[in-house]
């Protein structure tokens, strides 16, 4: 179990070691977060909660990027997931976290199942543009739907978790614990999926999809499956964010929200299922502090960071961990 001597590690070997140990790292993190949760200050718990939800969205984004596709419309499913949870609460009086999140996944997965039929044919900027168009359609619909609060959106809250009623003091922790568990399960599930037959085809499609077709695999089917998975994760993350913040609004479907997911995905890199969560935590921390101290320059910082990452660190932050040790 002890890591091999650092100097002896080559890049591939270290990446391999990290990949092999990912489940253990995940379980350790899960236990630490669940135990530490009640003792965390409110702001830290909130930030971690949001970061983990965003990480879940970006995890799906990462799967698409591994397939060679960049979506500028992931906000569609993020928003759908949040609104699904919100509508359950506001219109049907359901306030159970588990039921709300199931609805988030079901709605976004179902919509992606249909739209994926179309999108699976598109590549490059045309994929980006069509997904952008779909998310802007939802945005356009929501801002004019007065029953759902138009541009202001509406509020929601939770009362129970899988049937267990929550007292006021524990509701916040319950949401946090749910986010931790959701992030854990998504990451572990993604890890398994990526090493499955279909999962492994993602990288091959990015490299050369024609050759994948020659081998007898259906590129469109793989892309469709990956698209639905990534949309479900985005819906799940959206539902979690809605529940955590207690409010949903159409801005969640605006293209700049999708842009932020793209940003985190680029920042994180696609090297590991842990990367999106790491990236989301870094992003959320920087954003919170920048909002507090310098609200007019944080996008500037984001933009410059993004350029630096694209130019000098194409594998994202994660590649720092797996890089061949320099003579430092």
């Amino acid at each position: 179990m002890t890591p091999p001597h650092r100097g002896a590690l080559r890049q591939g070997a270290r990446a391999h070691w990290l990949r092999e140990r990912t489940p253990q790292i995940l379980i350790a993190t899960l236990v630490v977060l669940l135990v530490a949760g009640p003792f965390l200050p409110k702001w830290a718990m909130f930030m971690l909660n949001v970061s983990l939800s965003w990480g879940t969205v970006v995890l799906g984004m990462m799967l698409l990027m591994r397939t060679g596709l960049v979506s500028f419309g992931q906000g569609l499913y993020y928003c759908l997931g949040a609104y699904a949870a919100g509508v359950l609460y506001a219109k049907l009086g359901v306030a159970d976290i588990a039921v709300m999140l199931l609805a988030s996944v079901a709605v976004s997965g179902a919509v992606a199942g249909v739209l994926g039929l179309l999108l699976a044919k598109y590549r490059d900027i045309f994929f980006a543009m069509l997904s952008l168009a779909f998310s802007m359609i939802l945005f356009g619909l929501l801002v004019k739907t007065s029953e759902l609060g138009s541009t202001d959106g509406f509020g929601l809250s939770v009362a129970s978790l899988a049937g267990i009623p929550l007292t006021a003091g524990w509701a916040r922790y319950a949401v946090f614990a749910t986010a931790v568990c959701v992030a854990f399960c998504s990451a572990l599930g993604m890890q398994r999926y990526l090493s499955s037959h279909t999962g492994r085809l993602a990288g091959a499609i990015r490299d050369n999809e024609l050759r994948v077709e020659y081998m007898g695999a259906s590129v469109r089917r793989v892309i469709h499956v990956n698209y639905v998975i990534s949309a479900s994760l985005a819906g799940l993350g959206g539902g979690l964010v809605g529940i955590t913040i207690g409010h949903v609004d159409p801005e969640m479907a605006f293209w700049t929200t999708s842009g932020e997911f793209v940003f985190i995905a680029i920042l994180s890199g696609t090297g590991s299922v842990l990367a999106p969560f790491l990236g989301a935590i870094v992003f959320e921390t920087v954003r919170s502090f920048a909002y507090e101290y310098s609200p007019n320059t944080w996008q500037l910082v984001l933009g410059i960071t993004m350029l630096l990452v694209i130019l000098f660190l194409p594998g994202g932050l994660w590649s720092v961990f797996t890089r061949w040790r320099k003579a430092a």
Binding site: F72, A133, Q299, M306
Partner: protein, 298 residues
């Protein structure tokens, strides 16, 4: 009947405005294969520069008609400063990367410019309403339109026709077409591709800024206009076919009429309708209405 006329005129005015912005976007894509997200920020920069230049002119009590010159000057200055700066300083480093990566690079530029604009001009709404009312209005039957809006239509037509002539009738235009058609062959034939890129990006930027400068008198200029305008411009160029001048005109006309129709007949779907058309066109003609089919490469 009157409503049909109103929809038509509103649509044409809106389409002209969209065309001025979209034509720069499509020109840059056609030549450089860069889908420039920062185009929206350059539009915003043009609008801000217009309030600054025009404001300065009017405060000093120069003849108000000269403020139109200031709007134009604002667009040219933004084009000449921001265009070369972005192209030489950054884009030059990333040519040859995948198109999607280039989108991300310009998205980063968009983020940077968002804040630079805020730092330079503040976050409070600015306005320069004077040029809007200066020319009075024109009546069509019982419909009244500000002359300024019709001037924008005129500018848009001049810009479109001028660009089409420049592309097809001049030596420089032919060179540009050669680069669009095959960059490597053009370079081999002795064309300075790097210079063509610089000029194209500067002209494209100037068009974005011109769109912003002409809009400045009609809106309150504030943070957020860049993000709104760029998706509309994307819708226009994607409908028409990326990189096509005629496509941008057709796309602008379609989006303009559709939006005007929605505003008059069914206001709830105003924003929705534009993107619904964009999605519908992409679904039926994946590369836009005017796109040329490409050979599949292994």
């Amino acid at each position: 009947m009157n409503q049909v006329l109103a929809i038509l005129i509103d649509g044409i005015i809106y389409a002209s405005w969209l065309f001025i912005i979209a034509v720069g976007l499509t020109l840059i894509y056609g030549v450089m294969k860069i889908l420039n997200v920062a185009h929206g920020s350059l539009y915003a920069l043009g609008a801000y520069a217009a309030t600054a230049f025009g404001g300065w002119w009017l405060v000093h009590g120069y003849p108000p008609l000269g403020s139109y010159g200031m709007l134009l000057l604002a667009a040219i200055v933004v084009g000449l400063v921001a265009g070369p700066l972005i192209e030489r300083g950054l884009l030059r480093l990333v040519y040859g990367k995948e198109e999607v990566v280039l989108v991300l690079v310009t998205y980063a530029v968009f983020l940077i410019l968002e804040d630079l604009t805020k730092l330079a001009f503040g976050v409070d709404p600015l306005s320069i309403p004077e040029p809007y009312g200066l020319l009075g209005s024109i009546e069509f039957g019982d419909l009244i339109y500000p002359t300024y809006s019709l001037m924008v239509v005129l500018v848009s037509i001049v810009a479109g026709v001028g660009l089409a002539l420049a592309l097809n009738r001049t030596r420089q235009g032919k060179i540009l077409q050669a680069v669009i058609h095959d960059r490597e062959m053009a370079a081999a034939a002795g064309i300075n591709v790097s210079r063509v890129y610089l000029v194209t990006f500067t002209i494209g930027t100037a068009f974005a800024a011109l769109g912003g400068a002409l809009t400045a008198p009609t809106i309150s200029v504030q943070p957020g206009i860049a993000a709104e305008v760029i998706v509309l411009a994307f819708a226009v160029v994607v409908i028409g076919g990326l990189g096509s001048l005629g496509g941008a005109a057709l796309g602008a006309a379609i989006v303009g009429i559709v939006r005007a129709w929605a505003v008059h007949k069914w206001p709830e779907v105003e924003l929705f309708s534009v993107y619904a058309v964009m999605a519908a066109v992409l679904i039926m003609r994946p590369k836009g209405l005017f796109a040329v089919p490409e050979a599949r490469k292994i």
